[in-house]
Each structure stands twice: as C-alpha cells, then as structure tokens.
C-alpha cells in the first residue's frame, strides 16, 4: 500500500523568503504525485501534479515541485512567499485501482507567513 510522509507539521517563514515543503512517499510503481493547498474553511485546490516526464513540475501561484525517484521525494518550493500563501499544504500519491486513482494524503504542513 502507498503512503505519504510530510515531516514538518508547521512551518513559519517571512514574507519574501523562499519556501520548501518536504514530502516523501512510498509506492511500489511509478507514482502519481500531487500537491494540494487548503485555506481555512475551504476545500482543497490542486497546486501541481506529476505523472511522468519532466521531473520539475510547475504549478499555479508560482509553486514548483521536483520528483526525485532516488530519494522518494516530491518537495514543494516557492522562491518568494506571499502572505496569501498561508494555508495548509497536502502532498498526495495516487495509485491506479482499475480505472480510478485512489489518493493517499499526507498529514499536511501548516504554513504561517510573517510580515
């Protein structure tokens, strides 16, 4: 069975600073990997996803993530954080079961941005 680990429960960065959120996964085959963001009281919004091809993936809101098979990682990065980026971030791995993709989520990293 697949699993996802997000080692950092809570991260605080200053506005304008760079950001890296860690994600490690366990999956026997080539994974489908996702990063979602959840603002307070809201549903989840997709930031980016990796299925195959280029291991550096660009997403919305200036985020990017790099798939590193050798490290089983899919870390999320942003060069300059904005106050509006404060939210909870979830990494997920997708496994195909029949025709459906079942997502397994990490426990999330809460990002706080100081001005």
């Amino acid at each position: 069975a697949q699993s996802v680990t997000q080692p950092d429960i809570h991260i605080t960065v200053s506005e304008g600073a760079s950001l890296e959120l860690r994600c490690n996964y366990s999956y026997g085959a080539t994974p489908y990997l996702f990063w979602y963001v959840q603002s307070p009281g809201q549903g989840l919004q997709l930031l980016l996803k990796y299925f195959s091809g280029d291991t550096l993936v660009q997403g919305i809101k200036g985020f990017e993530a790099e798939f590193k098979r050798s490290q089983s990682s899919f870390n999320l990065r942003k060069p300059s954080v904005h106050w509006s980026d404060a939210a909870e971030y979830f990494c997920a791995v997708g496994a195909l079961t029949g025709t459906a993709s079942k997502l397994t989520f990490g426990t999330g990293t809460r990002l706080q941005v100081t001005l």
Partner: protein
C-alpha cells in the same frame, strides 16, 4: 459553473441518528469521491464511484453507504451516527481516473 457543491456546511447529530450528506457536481465528471478529514490528519477515502450505478469502497468505508443514480449526484449516507464519525467530509470529482480531483468546500459533522 459551480463546480462541486456540498450540503449542509455544518451539522450536529446525536448518537444513533442518520443523515445524508449531499454532493453535486456540474462538470459532467464520471468519477466522484468521498473523503473524511480528521484533525491533524490527511484525507482518507471513504467511497468512490467511476460512473452512475458503480460504486466501490475506499480505505475507511465502515459506517457509511453511497449511491450514484446520476452523473451529477453522489450522496453519502450515515445510518447510525457514532462519535468516531465526527469529522470534516469532502466530496471530489474528476473527469478521468488519473485526472485532477476537484474538491467541494466540505461538511463539518459533529456527533454527540
């Protein structure tokens, strides 16, 4: 285009009561999913559907039932509510099995 809508937003149930969480999507997506999110945890898949009339269990299906009579609707039924079902419930949909899942705003359920 409203996307994925869920009702109600909040609900308090007594132990043993039943209720249905509603989920509707207007994107003509074939795939629909129900997740629950417990405090400090990631989302866990309860049930999913790959099309009208077809449903299957996810990781944590016990205590829940689903049906999918139309493409648009995917209600989640709790028959005998228990405190362990206190959670935030999210519905999601996607066009294909590996496509992006679009999430609704959630239903916060408390069972006392």
């Amino acid at each position: 285009n409203a996307g994925v809508t869920q009702t109600p937003k909040f609900r308090i149930l007594k132990i043993g009561q039943s209720m249905t969480l509603q989920c509707t999507q207007d994107m003509n997506h074939n795939y629909m999913y129900w997740y629950r999110q417990d405090p400090g945890m990631g989302l866990k898949l309860i049930y999913y559907s790959v099309g009208a009339g077809i449903t299957d269990k996810g990781e944590v299906p016990n205590g829940y039932n689903v049906s999918r009579s139309t493409t648009e609707d995917f209600p989640l039924r709790l028959e005998l509510a228990a405190p362990s079902q206190t959670s935030v419930y999210f519905c999601a949909s996607s066009h294909g099995g590996t496509d992006t899942q679009y999430f609704g705003p959630g239903t916060r359920l408390t069972v006392l």
